[in-house]
Amino acid sequence: MKLSQINTQEFINSTVKNQYHDYLQKIFKTNFDEKRYFEMFLIRTFEKKLLEAFNKGYISGTTHTYIGQECNSVALFEHLNQDDIVWSNHRCHGHFISYCGKILELMAEIFGRKEGICKGRGGSQHLNFKNFYSNGILGGSIPQAVGGAFSLKENKKKNISVVFIGDGTMGEGILYESLNLSSLLNCPILFVCENNFIAQTTLISQNLAGSIKERVLSFNIKYEKCDTYNFEDLLAKSKEITQFVRDHRKPAFIEISSLRLGPHSKSDDTRDKQTLDNMHKKDILIKLKNKINSSDEIEKKTIEIINEIYSKLIK
């Protein structure tokens, strides 16, 4: 089966992740790189479409796009399943798509429709499906993730809890209460810090004293670091650290150096053009596309899938 033969409607209907992965497996056979690239491009296309919808006035409210950080989510969720607890943040669409692939329900939610994953109650920042949750206040839901991990431990299950934070979250006090609790009570939780070196518009140099690593190590929590731009390493470390938490029933922390290619929200980017141009030149998706020697077929098909959802919603 070729990619061009994907029935987009069938794809949309089968977007609970396990199903769509099986589905994509057939298309991509054993080529995981193509599958990963497809998922990254799906997240990026989704996010770009949202910005378009905002510009055209189809959606009200706000959004925080994941453009540039897609492969973090793709790499980590390869080693998570839907019985693991996931707490995401305001920049949650990529994580949500990687968790369950329910792109139609996600876009409907952001469009404020009752078909949305939370019936239009949550919008962009407040999502829930099975054990996936996101909330809009920085750091606010870290203790829920730790408490969830404690429940998993008590249940003697092999599942883990994961919470996504950013470099900006390092300023929130609740993070340190949660790190302390997780270490004291041996909670199987993975803290994922996607460090994009900018908190809204404030650079990390104005935002963070000392180092993230030393803060984490001081709680006696295992720390690992990797980089969006070394995808092989990101994949390997994601596998290793999720397995560590699963096996040892202890917390761990992974810092992923990343670049946010888009604005914080919709159009609030204060970085100069030169800086942004340089970042875009490093875009990991271009690098991966070259690596897998992809034709434009993946892009075309992805855009077709997103467009089909979009056109339904703007009717």
């Binding site: 408490g147 969830g148 404690f150 429940s151 006090g173 609740i174 609790l181």
Partner: protein, 309 residues
Amino acid sequence: MRYLNLINNTLKNLLIENDDLFIIGEDIIDPYGGAFKVTKNLSTLFPERVITTPISEAGIIGFGSGMSMNGKKVIVEIMFGDFLSLGFDQILNNISKFKWLYNNIKMPLIIRTPMGGYRGYGATHSQSIEKHFCGIPNLHVLSIDRYSDIEKIYRDAIKTEAPTLIIENKILYSKSQKKIEDLPVHDKPDIICVSYGGVVDICVESSEEILQEEEINVSVYNINSLNPFEKEKIVNLGKLSKKFLFVEEGCGDWGFSEMCNSSLVGLNDIKTITIKGPDHPIPSAKNWENEVLPNKKRIKEAINTLYKL
């Protein structure tokens, strides 16, 4: 049985009956058993499920809610009600919203804490700050006093599978528990006094004394559910008397008395007086504290004033 022992017994029974129930809080394990001894002996009986925590009010409230979203029942103790403000964001922006936002998830979570003064603890250990939590949608706020059915209130709260804040009162811990029938209630009261928490007791004493001294009939009623507020109860009392006294330890506007007053809007010729805590921090000096919190002198004066109106 004393108020303290009744709560302790209730918690013990809940632990016995629910092997998925946990109690977490600061300094709650033996030999200390909590700053007010409410959890005394519980960690000895259930060492795995009564867990002492770091001093992190926001953290443990959030942690408890995370547990309760994943198959556990959780009771979080906050040592002093004053410290509840450290967990305010967790309550306001997180746990009270989750059930509604996240497809009606279950969250069997109780946060219990003692409020109230009259102990000389001063500005940061004597307040009654529950009004700041009472306006939060989807957060039940309950108050237990000497006349409440404590065990039933706890049992019902955990059954709702929604976050509940239970306000205890530290002056009551050492007192013996009574029954709702023990409240002074007259068929044709001259005045109705409505209150909650620790000051219900002072209202009862004032009512008994003023009956002897002035032959004024004052019925006293307690409120157990602060949010949602027991509005109907007050509306119905409006049929029995036109004169109301509302007494609370809380201070400033936007509080319990305002809720009571607004419940009576629309009834003719209603006269009310409100007694509250001070519009400044609670002083440590014992006499000064007793003077500015609701006391028998203030209550009896108000009753006399109302009676003459």
